[in-house]
């Protein structure tokens, strides 16, 4: 009797194990994860409200989005309100938020949602998709990377050079300070005065920059700054004014060593241009620095 009970006990234990293995197998997420899907859906929903944000023809869904775990990419191809998902070997290894050129197409590559959350980032992953999609747009329609100067420095190299040069650093700090007035609701009524003051300081600073520093700064402010401007607008819509001010505006006027100052600078240039001419984006082809566009409104 005791032996029979023991056998029944083992059988029950085995059944519990088999049940757990089966349930584990059933509940394993395969392919594109639900959280990644939600982030993409958020982009589609945001677009219905935000549209192209004034950049003629910009639509994030025009570019494939790959959610990557570093080993595999799960690629979304949007088509008329629906999307197909395919799987491929990761095009980038490691933790990446970037664009990827696949033949003539530019695609967006972002980390999977759970990896993104683990970074502790306060941004929605959907806003990163907007940011990278904007780079795909810049490159598909305006070929910004293809047209970039061969003399350009990498973002990191440029930042290191400027951070270590007191005069260049101080004058850039001044530029940021002037531009940040546009984020202050009490002062941004006088956009032309801000623009004039900014152009004067920027022109003086251009004189002490080498050619490669000048073209590189113009490039990153234009490319990254405008993408950051798009990203900030998405966060403002998705997370509200407080989150927008906190993450994008409050510190934008401060000089920070590293690459981020070019993002802040470029974003504020876009904001200044919005005040000078709300239609400026419709005719902007990413073929000239934002400084030049600003200068064209004050001459």
């Amino acid at each position: 009797m005791k032996s029979l009970n023991k056998k029944i006990g083992y059988a029950v234990y085995g059944l519990i194990g088999a049940g757990l293995i089966l349930t584990g197998f059933i509940t394993t997420e395969r392919g594109l994860k639900g959280d990644d899907r939600k982030e993409y859906d958020r982009v589609v929903e945001d677009y219905a409200e935000l549209g192209d944000m004034g950049f003629d023809g910009f639509r994030p869904m025009d570019y494939k989005v790959a959610f990557s775990n570093g080993e595999k990419d799960f690629v979304i191809d949007y088509n008329d309100g629906d999307y197909e998902v395919s799987e491929r070997k990761a095009v980038y290894e490691g933790l990446v938020g970037s664009i990827y050129q696949n033949g003539n197409e530019f695609e967006v590559v972002v980390p999977e949602y759970d990896t993104w959350i683990a970074t502790g980032s306060s941004s929605q992953l959907s806003s990163v998709i907007w940011h990278e999609s904007f780079h795909a747009f810049q490159n598909t329609k305006y070929h910004v990377l293809e047209n970039a100067s061969e003399n350009g420095l990498s973002e990191t190299e440029l930042a290191e050079r400027i951070d270590s040069d007191v005069e260049k650093k101080n004058m850039y700090e001044k530029e940021l300070e002037i531009l940040s007035q546009i984020t202050d609701e009490e002062k941004n009524g006088d956009a032309e005065t801000i623009a004039l003051e900014y152009i004067n300081v920027a022109s003086d600073r251009d004189k002490i920059l080498s050619d490669e520093e000048k073209v590189s700064e113009d490039f990153y402010e234009m490319v990254e700054g405008s993408a950051y401007y798009v990203e900030a607008s998405v966060v403002r819509y998705e997370n509200g004014e407080a989150a927008y001010q906190d993450k994008y505006i409050n510190e934008a006027g401060n000089y920070i060593d590293g690459n981020s100052k070019y993002y802040h600078h470029g974003m504020m240039q876009c904001m200044l241009l919005d005040e000078l001419d709300p239609q400026w984006k419709a005719s902007y082809n990413f073929d000239k620095p934002l400084d030049e566009v600003i200068a064209s409104y004050v001459k």
Binding site: Y13, G17, T28, N69, G70
Partner: protein, 251 residues
């Protein structure tokens, strides 16, 4: 049942249990009241809904540490004191003996965990989040799985391995599981063969961080990932198999 109760009685006399529980209560008190504040990204976290997942992580971690510290010596000590021989003479099998000793440890870990969760609940009321109370107590179930994983794994290993080796392995497993999300993130930047190996190894740790995260999700009204719970239970099942199958020669 008698063996289980004896383990519970013996363990609740341990100073370590009280020290760790009091430490947990203090942590919850400090961060839940105006005496201290937790800052993330330079910002004070005052909203209890934001704070609670972090506190759950801390409370579960402390409960896991209690479970580990208690389980590591229980079975070896029984054999060392030859208590095991008294048990065999009463016709109780080794596997039942191991399981009962482990259940005793699990119960004590749960008791100390419940005390910490009651503290969380009290501070939820003090901070005006009475509506959260029910969910906090449901979240205890995640702590039950968390500590049971540690107790069963530690106990199973302690049957076959020397205490020091069990301790080293379980500290690695415990920390690896509790920090699994961070390790996963760090490994995401690793590339090549080495990166793949590290990622696979991290996947072997029980997802203790995931269990705490699900408890936080439950309270915050976010979706709970059933898969994490099932895999947690599977770890307990596998360790339970060890308790049944592993034998000591001294017996």
């Amino acid at each position: 049942m008698e063996i289980v109760l004896n383990v519970v009685k013996e363990k609740i006399r341990k100073k370590m249990l009280y020290i760790t529980t009091v430490l947990g209560i203090l942590v919850v008190m400090i961060f839940s009241s105006d005496m201290g504040s937790l800052t993330i990204g330079g910002k004070n976290i005052k909203d209890y809904y934001v704070l609670i997942p972090i506190l759950i992580n801390v409370v579960n971690f402390l409960s896991g540490a209690i479970a580990l510290a208690m389980s590591i010596t229980t079975i070896p000590n029984e054999y060392e004191r030859r208590t095991s021989h008294l048990i065999w003479s009463r016709g109780i099998s080794q596997s039942k003996y191991h399981i009962d000793l482990t259940i005793g440890n699990v119960i004590v870990s749960w008791i100390s965990g419940i005390i910490l969760y009651i503290t969380l609940g009290l501070f939820a009321i003090i901070n005006g989040y009475n509506n959260m109370l029910g969910l906090i107590f449901v979240a205890i179930l995640f702590m039950f799985i968390y500590t049971a994983i540690i107790c069963t794994l530690t106990s199973a290993l302690s049957i076959k391995l020397p205490t020091v080796i069990t301790g080293v392995i379980m500290i690695i497993v415990f920390l690896g599981g509790a920090l699994r999300s961070i390790l996963k993130l760090m490994s995401a930047v690793l590339t090549g063969f080495g990166g793949t190996v590290v990622k696979r190894l991290i996947g072997l740790f029980p997802d203790l961080a995931g269990l705490s995260r699900q408890a936080g999700n439950l309270i915050q009204g976010k979706p709970v990932d059933i898969h994490v719970i099932v895999i947690g239970l599977l770890f307990i099942w596998i360790a339970g198999l060890g308790l049944i199958l592993f034998r000591r020669k001294e017996a």
